[in-house]
Structure formats: C-alpha cells, structure tokens
Symmetry: C2
Subunit: 582 residues, 2 copies
C-alpha cells in the first residue's frame, strides 16, 4: 500500500469517527500541511465544512456555533502560527465550557525544531486550557493503529462534551505526499462509531437532598449567572422551585431566565441598580444563597455577595468548578442543575406561602425598574435605551449575542424580563472584547435571526469575522454602538486622569464603519434619530444576510445618563437625602 493510501485510511478513519461521534460541523482554515484532513472532511457525507482564512476568527466562529448548537464543533488548521491564532478562542471555550475539537496539522518529527518553515512546537501548545491533548504518530494502517486513531477521535469528541465541556487538542503530524485517495468514504465504512461513551447522570445521594432540603430557611435567594448552554428543563425546574420556596431569583442577562419567566414569577432583573446602594445591600441580608451558573456580570451583586460572606452559600455546579471570586461560597454542590432543582422539589418540607422577604425584593425590583425604565423615554438615541427597547425589535426565537465591556452591562441594566423567547449569549468565559463578531456568526448557524450588540472597539477587533457572513450568506444583524472608543472607562476611576485618558482609555479610532460594511457587502444604516433607528430595526427584521445598524453615541453623555439613573434608584429606594450632584 502506498504512503498515500496509508494516509487516506488513517486520516480517513480519524475523520469518519469524528462524524460518528457527534461532530457535525468543522471549520477549516486553509493551508498545505492540513490538506489530507481538509480534503477528507470535505468528502465526508456527514460533515458540514466552513472555510475561514483567519484562524482567530475561525476558532471563535466554531466556539459560537458549538455554544448555540450545544454540540462539539471541530476546527482544523495547518502548522505554525496558524495554530497559535486559535489560542484566544481556545481559552474562551475552556472558561465558558464550550466543546471544541481542535485539530492542528503538524510537520513530522524530523522537521521539528530544525528551522523548517511553518514549524513550531505544537505539543501542548494550549497548555492547561485544553482538557486533553494527543500528539498523534504518523499514518500507519495496521489493525491496531486504525483502532487507535478511531479511538483517539471518539475520545476527543467525548472529552470535549463531558461536563464541564471544553476544548481538546489533537496534533496531527503529516508527511508528504499530502494528497489522500479520492472518494474514500464511498468505500466500506463501519456502520457505528467504534467507541461509545455512556456517562454519569450527576446527582447526589438521596439523603443529601433530604438533608439540604431540611436546611432551607425562609430568607433564601437564588442567583443565576450565565447558563447559555442550559436547556428548558433547568429553567422550568428552577422557576418552579423558586415559586414553591418564594425565593427571589436574581437573573443575570445570560441566565436566559429574563425571557423565560412567567409574568408573576419571583424574577429579579434590576438588582444591579438597587444593590449599588450599600444600605440596601446591608438591609437585604439573606439566610441562604443558592447560586447557579458562572458569576453574574453585576459588580453591585459582587459586593453584595462579598459583604454577606458569612451567609451560607451553596454553589450548584455540574461542571465541578470553583467559580466564586467573591469568596462567598460555603458548600459546593456538584450535581446536575436540573436534577438538583427537581430533587429539591420532591422534598416538600419548605413549601410555604409568600412572605415579607419575597415581597421586599419584588417591590424593590419594581421600584428600581421603574426608574431604570426612564431610559426608554430618553431623548434621541441613548445606549441604554437600545437595550430597553430591544424586545420590541426582535422576532420570536431570535438570538442575541452581546459584546463585552459596555453592552453586557447595558444589557444587565436595561434588558428587563420579557415574554419573548430569545436566547442570549456573550463571551463571559474570559470576558474579552476579542472574537465576538465571529462568535455571533457561529451562533447564527443555529438561529433564524441573530442580533449582535457590540461596541466599536470590539467590532474593530474582530472585523475579519464579517467575512463568514459574506461567504456563507449568514443572517446576522449587528447593532454597532459606536461611541468612538472605550466607553466603560468613563465609568471607572481612570476617568479622573484627563491627561492621558483619551490616549490610553478612550482610544478613539475615528473609523467610518460604513466602509467596513461595503467591504463585506453588508446592508448598512446609520440612523440619526430614534424614529429612524426604530424604522431601521423594523426593516432589517425581514431582511436576509448581514445587516449593520450603526448608532453613534457619546461616551460622556451615556456615562452621565447611567450614573443619573443609578443615583436616582439609590436615592429613592433607600429614601436617602439627595447627594450633591453625584
């Protein structure tokens, strides 16, 4: 058998088992060394291939797709710095628990560390940010080696999916000639995957649930952070449990709960506003906190958790992590979140009627929300106002991808509970401003209507991500909030340093993104009034393809609006005397 055929059988078995193990999509970045794997992936009948040149963007695209599709997505690139460009997305996937199968083509061993071109040390390239690493040997077609390579493929996919999900890395050395035989998969293929994994249901001992249940106090509180990959079973069971216990549920914008809670549920969505007041935080001392998901974005909530560090806090985490930067957690409950809620519902001890505790949170929330909702009447276009009115613009089953820095915070402040079924995503693993456009593009593969809300710096950072829409006709509306620089710094102490503020923190780029829209063939509009904005949002709702709706806002004005509203909430909720101007 020629080397070529050995390569075909070996690489073909690897690719075939990827598909049989549940990978449906693979994002390929072009290159020479990866040729056999790329060609075989194209030929495989069960793999959808996407080809994207910029590996940084390609990896975020795959990450967004994996998150939205709740399925492992593979990425494949050639040797050299191509693989290093994957690093930011690999880290984000690791920290946000998204299954990614990273396949890097490599030079054979005799070309490593001898100055050969496009050759870098790819062994353990991503350090501890991947759950599993395998440096494959060169193609061999003995029975053992074909079993081996199929097993590696199956293990890679399962390990990526296994809770906590995350990236795995397979380094694949390939020696020339690199062309595999054609039509390989039209030959005889195994009917089933070679290796199947059946994995645990994460639960606790029955007696532990009973014990936990017996300890549920009156003043309990649920806090739900980002749960982007959770399913309806969790949302339903958590809301039922909260209603039964009359515990308020503080719901981060990425918890998915804000668009899933029935109208009179104990959902609290304006805590970020009223917990900014230290007296309010003090007065709302709970007896138990039960947390789900990653840490919410709200800094006020962070302070609340920090200040009530002596209160028992259960952290329910099926990913068996330790996500607790406020150091409030006292008991870690490593159990499936849905199972936890369902089991707690089975122990009827704590069922009680509504009391003062729930009422206080609800009325506090209602009063804060009423004030924060004043943004809706703000004159012209204001950043927060966009988020407040967002549900009106969205079709049902839309997906929102929300950029980091200001957009996710505006989402927290102004995107209130609504009865519109939407999914909300953000890159909150490492909370970077990088890769967000590409992530949203990837997510759009799974949603008929995807909206990306993003600031201008983050948009610029990942402008390359727009190419995917052009190449694959993706449906995405970008709401580009252009305040010409880094808006968040106007809310931070850095704003007190005018001398270098614009140079280091404001960092205006003065880019006219109309040209970026033209470059990528996007529909583009830059409405100047609120009425125009509403009209544009209505118009793009029924348009296919890439739409960029840019709004130009001012950093100073929008910082002042937010501060004004927060101060008003703080004042009115606490009945405190008005502080002088701040």
């Amino acid at each position: 058998m020629s080397g070529n055929e050995a390569l075909t059988k070996y690489a073909g078995a690897f690719i075939d088992e990827l598909a049989k193990s549940g990978v449906k999509k693979i994002v390929i970045s072009p290159g020479s060394r990866s040729t056999p794997l790329a060609l075989l992936a194209m030929e495989h009948p069960d793999l959808d291939c996407y080809v994207l040149v910029d590996e940084r963007s390609a990896a975020f695209f795959a990450m967004g797709a994996a998150k939205a599709g709740k399925e492992p997505v593979a990425i494949l690139c050639t040797s050299g710095t191509a693989a290093a460009n994957y690093f930011p997305a690999v880290i984000e996937a690791c920290l946000s628990r998204v299954p990614l199968v990273v396949i890097t083509a490599d030079r054979p061993h005799e070309l490593r560390d001898v100055g050969a071109p496009q050759t870098i040390d790819q062994v353990r390239l991503y350090g501890n940010f991947v759950k599993w690493f395998q440096d494959l040997p060169l193609a061999e077609v003995s029975g053992t080696m074909l079993k081996f390579v199929r097993t590696v493929s199956a293990r890679a996919v399962h390990t990526a999916k296994q809770n906590p999900a995350g990236p795995v890395h397979i380094n694949f050395p390939l020696r020339e000639p690199l062309l595999p035989a054609e039509d390989f998969f039209s030959g005889e293929m195994p009917a089933a995957p070679r290796v199947v994994f059946r994995d645990q249901v994460m639960t606790l001992d029955e007696r532990e649930f009973a014990a936990l249940s017996s300890r549920l106090p009156e003043k309990g509180l649920f806090i739900c952070g980002p749960m982007e990959m959770a399913d309806d079973r969790f949302f339903r069971s958590l809301l039922r449990l909260a209603e039964a216990l009359h515990y308020p549920v503080l719901a981060d914008p990425l918890s998915q709960l804000r668009s899933r809670a029935p109208e009179h549920s104990p959902l609290v969505d304006s805590y970020d506003a009223f917990l900014r007041n230290p007296d309010v935080r003090r007065s709302l001392k709970p007896e138990l906190i039960i947390r789900f998901g990653a840490m919410p974005v709200s800094k006020a909530l962070h302070f609340y958790l920090q200040e009530h560090g002596e209160v028992p806090q259960w952290v329910v985490d099926s990913g068996r992590g330790f996500r607790d930067p406020a150091y409030g957690g006292s008991e870690w409950i490593y159990c499936d979140e849905s199972v936890f809620c369902e089991e707690m519902l089975k122990h009827p001890a704590p069922f009680r009627t509504a009391g003062e505790w729930e009422g206080t949170w609800k009325s506090m929330n209602a009063r804060a929300k009423k004030i924060m909702a004043e943004i809706g009447g703000e004159e012209g276009i204001a950043e927060g106002k966009i988020f407040y009115h967002l549900p009106e613009f969205l079709p049902d089953h839309a997906a929102l991808y929300v950029g980091n820095s200001m957009p996710i915070r505006d989402m927290d402040s102004f995107f209130f509970a609504c009865q519109k079924p939407v999914r909300v995503y953000g890159n909150r693993g490492a909370s970077g401003i990088d890769g967000v456009v590409s992530s949203a593009m990837g997510a759009s593969l799974f949603h008929p209507h995807t909206y990306l809300l993003i600031g201008d710096l983050s948009f610029y950072h990942d402008l390359n991500g727009l190419l995917a829409a052009k190449l694959y006709g993706l449906n995405l509306t970008v709401v580009l909030i252009n305040n010409n620089g880094g808006g968040i710094f106007s809310l931070l102490p850095q704003a007190e340093r005018p001398k270098y503020f614009e140079a280091l923190f404001g960092t205006p780029t003065d880019l006219d993104f109309k040209h970026a829209a033209r470059l990528y063939g996007a529909y583009y509009a830059c409405p100047e009034t609120w009425e125009e904005f509403c009209g544009t949002m209505a118009k793009v709702r029924d348009m296919d393809g890439l739409k960029i709706v840019e709004v130009r806002t001012g950093r100073k004005r929008n910082a002042a609006i937010r501060k004004g509203l927060w101060a008003k909430v703080s004042r009115e909720i606490a009945g405190l005397p008005r502080e002088d101007g701040r």
Copy 2:
C-alpha cells in the same frame, strides 16, 4: 504609605528600569488592569508609547519595530485573552530571534481560578516560546523589593537582547486601586540603570580558526539565508571573504546581500531557478558548504542541500541554534558571523585566483537570470514582473517587507542583485501569513520609506494592522497583489484536485479592498495596465502616509508564467530536450 503610592514606586521602578536598560518604545493595548503600567509608561520621558487596540496586531507591530530598530520593544496588555492574542507574534519573535519584552497585567492571586472576569492562567502562558518568564508579586516598597523589581526589568531586557534574541514574558499582578500617583518621574530617579550586563563576544579559539582555514577546499560555497538584523560589518566581511576564496555566495532575498554586493562580486541570486533541474544539482557538487542565517526560502536549494548531504557543511550561527531541515549540517560553528569571516580572512592559506568552480556558478547564474528576466517584458501586469522592476520604483534606503507564501518566493525568483541600498524583511521565523501588515507598520518606524509586498489573503488576515498608520501617520506603501485567494496552491500538488480546490485552497474572498483603504483613510489606486502601475508607483514615492496600490492578477496565469520560465531555465541550462509542454 498608601497602596497607591506603593504601587507607583514599584511599578514606576519597573518602567524606569525598562527605559534605562534600552527599551525606547512600548506598544500598549488598552485595558483596565494594566492601568498603572500604562500611565507610568506614558509619563516616562524616555519611552515612546503606541496604543493599539488589537493585541495580535500590536504584538506584530512591536516585533516589526524591534527587528527594524535592532532594539528590544516592549508590549503591554491587560489580563485575559488580550494576552493570548500576543501568541502568534511571540512565536514569530522567538523563531526569528527578535527581542520583545512582553508585559501582561494580571489579577492578583486571590482572583485567579475562581471565575473572576478577564482572568485566565497567565503563568507560563507562552510555554517554551519565551526565553524567560517571571510572575511578579504584588507591589511592595521595601528596599529589597524595589531592587528586585528593577533587576527583573533589567534582566528581562538583557535576556531579550542576548543572542539568540527573543521574547521574554513578565506577568504583573495588580490589585485595585489601580491609579498610580501622578508625575512620578519628575521626582528623584536613579541616574543609571541598576543592573548592567556585559556579554561575551562570540568567537572560537584562535587555533580552531586556523584549523578550519586550513581545511578550506577549492570548491566551496557560501549560503546566506535570512539575516535581517545583521549589520554592515557582516555583509562586508562575508563578501570580502567570498571574493578572496572565489566561493560563490548564494544569497536569499532576506540575506540583505542582493542589495549590498558590488557589481562583480560572486553573488548568486538565481540559484532557485537553475537548481530546480536535478542534473544541474548533481553537476554542481561542492566540497564544502558554509551556511549563515536561517534556511533560505528556495525549495530547489533545499533539495540541493539534501542531495549533497555527504558534503561537509559548516553552519555558522551566533544564536547557537540548529536550523537545518535538510540535515546537511556536519559542523556547527557557534561564533559571531562577522568575527568568523574576519578571522578566516586573517588566515591567508586559501587565497587563490578565480577558477572554474566560481565561473560555472557565475555563468549558470547569468544564463538563468537572463531567462528569468524575461518576466520584465511580460505583457501587462504579472506578479513576478512587479518584483523584477521593484528596484526602479524604490527610493534609496527604502525598506521592503515581503509577505509569506507567494511574495517571498517571487522575491526570490525575480528580485535580482541591485546597487540600491534597501533592507528586506519578512516573517520567516514561522513563515505565517498572519501579522505581516502590522509587522511592516512597526518596521516603518525606522525607515523613511517602507514598502509592503503582500498577497490578498495575508492582507485580509491582518487588515486591522492598517489602523496604526491612520493613528500614527506612518509612511507605508502596500503593494497588494490580489489574485483573489491562495496563489501558492496553484504550484502545489493540491492543484490536481479540482473538485475541492477553490473551496479549500483557492479560497477566494472576493473582497474589494478599495473599501478597506477608505476605512483606514489610505490613498488607494488599482492600476490596470503596467504603465498605470509604473505611474502610480512613481506617484506614491513622494507621498506621505498610507498608500495602497492594488494589482489584480490571475492565479492560473501567473502559475503558468513561473512554470514556463523555470522549464526554460531548466532546458537551456542543462541543454536538455524540451519536455512536452510542462
């Protein structure tokens, strides 16, 4: 002393010592956690600060600047994936031996691995691609700790510069509050650096030079690969030695020799063309090969080295590396390259008159070059023709930055020796198509006229790099060779697979880069005829700022032109009968 003042003194000492140790430029990417270091860098009187949002681009920008300036450049970013975006440039700097001081701000230890935002494990983030790593402790102002932090700073700079130069990584944890005191450097600062390193002159024992010299045969050959950071001393001494020995010098386009050799020097610049013929390779068997620099780009030369693997081959490398993918090296001479040439010149044993060996190479080169030069008369705009005529367009002391994949190969084929003093750069450490625009931008800080020759995929990959020109008014002419995809694959076996060729290898993006030019405020022209192209090149020569000269070419046509010329060289040099059509 408040935490703030401790922070100022500690971080200030670090920044001050960076400058005193020889860092003149620092490229900062905005962020919150890095605030104290960024503000102090801005305030330091001896540091030039550049602020670039995309960290991937920022790091390549710094790498290009460090290479062109032959001095260490620092980069600073905030915590999280920001630091991961540096990875491709860190790898390129490592493999191409460019001094880079990478400073990543980090969260303090209590916020690591507990789900805090923008927090990733930054300890040894770049693995073995950095020469030195330090994870600093938090600010402290004891005498010992101030000495410590200054010493780390000085060691970082020296280690980056030390041969082989490369990147070092300092991870700097910072705890809030993050604002340092103002005007710190107007206070009393040490007059001199705290730590100074005096490092070896790399030489061999006198007797070794004598012994080596006595072994110089008649049929010797110098091969000079990329030597982008070498100085004139090396070029002069190598050329003198070659003339004395009558050894031909095979000069890679990045060897800098093609624009530095006197007219009748034994420079060989068309070896890539005639060494494609296996009979020619066989007939030119040397008795000794002496190599300098990294591996040349020519694949034909690679085969030549491989096939003459039994011929003694000395690899002179002051970086004490092992750059020898053809496995021809038999003796490693770890010695300064200039010292080596100068010492060999002192041992007069081998001085001899010109012989047949030198003559064969010279006439072979002349004949091959004459054929390759036919590209100059090719109709209209052809890719190779641009490189052939390049010297005519360039002002003296111009710098060329040459993209990977096709441009560097066309440079090798068609950029012949000329009497115009230019510097030629490329990213040949890992030979990626990423970061090339930014690298050229960085290099432009040190040259009055910089020209970037780049293909469309590589240009797209690093489009963000154009922002630097807009923000800092940099002088750069981009010659964008747009063949709408990956031209190199048309010359590789992949071209035999039409079914997936365009999807996987051709990968056309159909981008109209005129819009990219507008986005970044560049002068833009897209000449359609050769005369227009010449006119445009003459015009932009006297223009400041960013100029993009796009030429649209065809992948198939240009592959055919190259193949035709190579076949003709092969035929005519070897006197072989014409092969049928290929």
